[in-house]
């Protein structure tokens, strides 16, 4: 059953009957979703609902057991993991995943350089090309980390590291942003920063947001999908989902009071 | 190749494979449970052979010598684990490689100091001397059959220990989840000491068993170590069952290769390994 409303926007990413089995365990079972350009699509659900599994397949980290993933209409589920990023599908990680020994600028430079070329230039110094630095700095600027440009990534605060994580994805110039719990482990004020950031970004990119912080998801999402036990429960606007009795049941059944 | 020659080679291959299993099982056990790659494992095989020679010279009895050697090996294992290996659990593979290379140097030097560098030999114990007829014209040494049976016996005991006893349960638990064992209130360090010591003892026992079959020379440890690597990698790191299957496979391939394709004989097992890793990068029985 698909309650998803058809919008007058381009479908960037689409899954069709996506399944992932770990041995006998069905981590994800027959999920079909559409993600639209310039929309923020939230995905919520209790622990073990398959949200992260879904995200990990959308970015090519896992191979689906069955089903397909379409990017602008092309099936991409069998391409190599690194090719996803080249198609403009960028992701952030649930656990902070940065180059903690390098400066914030250098972190973003790695991301920018991929599309700027010269990766197999063995002799020319990496520090001579200013264009690269500028684009990387822009990415930092976007998430509000410009003042941390030359600080080693391991020395900035946890919240800033989460922002850096997003800056790195932005630096790859993606069309689709897959964000895996960007606010995990953050205090209220830090979360607020990320929310403001996402509000700015959601009209520029196709964003898929997996997040535990319900207030944040409700505030940000254009579309919202609820998942339970690896299955798609419902998709709709925030208000539609709020009204859905099955959603309440699913959450109450888990003893997880979020609504 | 005639049938009887084939038969002899088959038994030879199986017997060699079983001996390899004895050494490789210790290597894979230590890796599986403790995550330690012990390059000095071959040195323990060498130490076993030299100890066997030494005590045969002094007691005159192969049996007594074997028991004393095994006990000494066990003590060496406990000592090395307590003093050195223990520092390495949280370190990377590189440090493990280096430390155990250092240990090889030390063991080789001690061997030179204690026993010199001339080849030594242990004669087959009298009760196991002689040969049994296979066909009208062929016979097979009793001692080799004894070694094969001994290896099968030890493999059976290991199988029983790992699957049926409390220690075995802990070993299996330690392989899959270190934290869990600690949560059970068990001192994992004690478990590690025991496992390492058993691994060392297995290698030394193999050395003792091999002593009457081959000459005892410096460097014998490194040679067997590399062969055991091949066994462990083919079988899948940490898998005892894999080590058993792979050891027999390697034993047979090596034995038959030396008859059928002598010019490639020493390379054959490495070719086998490369081939298997291409098909299954984690080995045959990886967990």
């Amino acid at each position: 059953m698909n309650t998803q409303v058809s919008l007058d926007l381009e479908v960037m990413l689409e899954t069709q009957g996506l399944c992932k089995y770990w041995g006998g365990l069905k981590a994800l079972d027959d999920v079909s979703l559409q993600f639209y350009d310039k929309q923020l699509h939230g995905i919520v659900g209790p622990n073990g609902a398959g949200k992260s599994t879904l995200l990990n397949m959308l970015c090519g980290h896992y191979q689906p057991t069955r089903g397909s993933i379409l990017h602008k209409g092309e099936a991409i589920e069998s391409i190599r993991p690194w090719a996803f990023a080249r198609r403009g599908i960028g992701r952030s990680f649930q656990k902070t995943n940065i180059y903690s020994g390098a400066t914030c600028l250098e972190n973003c430079c790695v991301a920018v350089q991929r599309r700027m070329g010269g990766n197999f230039n063995f002799l020319r110094s990496r520090y001579t090309q200013k264009v690269l630095d500028e684009i990387a700095t822009e990415a930092l600027e976007k998430v509000g980390l410009r003042h941390r440009r030359d600080v080693i990534a391991s020395q900035i605060s946890y919240g800033e590291q989460r922002q850096l994580e997003i800056a790195m994805v932005l630096a790859t110039a993606p069309e689709v942003l897959l964000l895996d719990e960007p606010m995990a482990g953050m205090g209220h004020e830090e979360s607020q920063l990320i929310i403001e950031l996402l509000k700015k970004l959601r009209r520029e990119y196709c964003i898929v947001l997996v997040e535990h912080d319900m207030d944040a998801v409700f505030e940000l999402s254009d579309q919202l999908t609820v998942m339970v036990d690896g299955q798609h429960l419902t998709t709709g606007t925030v208000d539609q989902v709020r009204e859905d009795t099955r959603v309440k049941e699913a959450y109450l059944g888990q003893g997880d009071e979020v609504f | 190749m005639t049938t009887s020659l084939f038969l002899v080679q088959l038994i030879n291959g199986l017997q060699y494979g079983l001996l390899l299993f004895l050494i490789a099982s210790g290597l894979t056990l230590v890796f599986g449970v403790m995550g330690i790659l012990n390059l000095a494992h071959g040195s323990m095989y060498m130490v076993g052979a030299y100890l066997a020679w030494y005590f045969v010279e002094h007691t005159g009895s192969f049996g007594v010598s074997a028991i004393i050697s095994a006990i000494i090996a066990l003590l060496i294992g406990i000592f090395v684990e307590r003093t050195l290996i223990r520092q390495l659990y949280r370190r990377n593979h590189l440090d493990q490689v280096l430390l155990t290379i250092g240990m090889i140097f030390v063991f080789n030097a001690l061997q030179g100091i204690l026993w010199g560098n001339d080849p030594l030999g242990v004669s087959v114990p009298e009760s196991l001397a002689g040969a049994i007829p296979l066909t009208d014209v062929l016979e097979y040494p009793v001692y080799r059959i004894f070694v094969a049976l001994l290896c099968i016996g030890i493999a059976a005991v290991m199988y029983f220990m790992i699957n049926k006893t409390r220690l075995g349960m802990l070993i299996r638990a330690g392989e899959s989840n270190r934290e869990m064992v600690e949560c059970l209130g068990i001192d994992i360090r004690k478990l590690y000491t025991i496992v390492f010591a058993i691994g060392v003892m297995l290698a030394a026992v193999a050395g003792v068993a091999a002593a009457p079959m081959s000459s005892i020379v410096p460097g014998m440890g490194e040679h067997i170590l590399i062969t055991c690597f091949v066994v462990v990698v083919i079988g899948g790191m940490g898998s005892i069952k894999g080590a058993f299957v792979a050891a027999l496979l390697v034993g047979l391939v090596d034995t038959f290769a030396s008859v059928l394709v002598p010019q490639l004989s020493s390379m054959m097992i490495y070719i086998l390994m490369a081939f298997i890793l291409l098909l299954k990068p984690q080995g045959l029985f990886s967990s």
Partner: protein, 320 residues
């Protein structure tokens, strides 16, 4: 980054001028010249390994395969009784070694961690037995090189390889060039990706890099230089034998690299000189030098984790 530029600069300014002047004082003493030369050749080999293990995080126990290959290749492709051009053959050998490394790297780099340690070892052993078992390659005794190459470029010849001092300078130049090359490589944009992969391979893949390609490239570069070192060794002693590609050669190179300070590149020179120096001294003091060497290696793992380069930098930091 752990290793800072200043310590490196100090080292380079101390080591290379000293090495440059050394033959002036020791020209009479052929033994020391030849000893120094062989240590420098091995330092070049260790440097290539240091790049692979320390910078790329690819731990290999089979690097000696390329060291030996460099020697055997020269014997295979050079005519037996005719002096060939050194530079041309350097090119040939590096190219062939690269091609071999491309194939082997393609297989080896599919694995990682402990499996990679073991499979590199297996390939090296395969090569070892290939050469030591075949009569055509002289078996365990190896082969002799009767004629040394000449070194002219456009008719100008700076080095006469039959003269130990000339050969010494050629090796010193090679070592210096390799050091400079690796410094450039590390600073380059290629080096940026290599650093990124070393620190966080998963993240680098997520950013769209095919990390396999970069690892393969690094493997090929390090292997070609390893082969070059083996080629120099063969030219120095006029023979090639299987012990060059024994796993103990890889093992001791690894020890030297760690001793110097893994990943620091210049530390490879330091590590090799200190190791060989200790080896030489201990060997003369006692027959059982291996015992002390072993104890030293163990102590190194336990105490000096960042090698001599790391230790020196700590000292300098304290002073400043």
């Amino acid at each position: 980054m752990l290793f800072n530029k200043r310590t490196e600069r100090i080292f380079i300014w101390v080591f290379f001028p000293l090495a440059l002047l050394m033959p002036l004082f020791l020209a009479e003493n052929a033994f020391y010249i030849s000893k120094m030369t062989s240590v420098m050749i091995f330092a070049l080999f260790v440097m290539s390994l240091d790049y692979l293990v320390g910078r790329c995080g690819l731990i290999t126990l089979g690097h000696a395969m390329f060291y030996g290959l460099g020697g055997y290749l020269f014997w295979m492709i050079a005519p037996e009784y005719e002096a060939v051009n050194f530079w041309v053959y350097t090119f040939y050998i590096c190219m062939i070694a690269s091609a071999v490394a491309l194939v082997i790297g393609f297989l080896v780099l599919r694995t990682s961690g402990i499996y990679m340690i073991m499979i590199t070892l297996a390939f090296a052993q395969m090569a070892f037995y290939f050469f030591s078992d075949s009569i055509e390659f002289g078996g365990n005794d190896g082969l002799f090189i009767y004629v040394k190459p000449e070194t002219s470029i456009f008719g100008l010849s700076f080095f006469n390889l039959d003269d130990p001092v000339h050969f010494y300078y050629l090796c010193l130049l090679s070592l210096f060039n390799t050091l400079v090359f690796f410094r450039l490589l590390i600073r380059s944009r290629f080096g940026r990706v290599v650093d990124a992969i070393h620190e966080n391979p998963g993240r680098t893949t997520a950013l769209g890099y095919n990390i396999f390609l970069f690892r393969l490239m690094s493997y090929v570069i390090a292997s070609a230089l390893g082969a070059y070192a083996g080629y120099l060794f063969t030219l120095q002693y006029g023979f090639v034998n299987p012990s060059m590609l024994a796993w103990t050669t890889s093992g001791s190179a690894l020890v030297m690299s760690i001793l110097g300070g893994m990943g620091s590149i210049y530390g490879a020179i330091l590590g090799t000189f200190v190791y060989e120096g200790l080896h030489y001294t201990l060997e003369h003091l006692t027959e059982h030098w291996m015992l002390f060497m072993g104890a030293l290696i163990i102590a190194m793992v336990m105490v000096f984790k960042n090698g001599i380069a790391g230790y020196m930098e700590k000292l300098l930091e304290k002073r400043s």
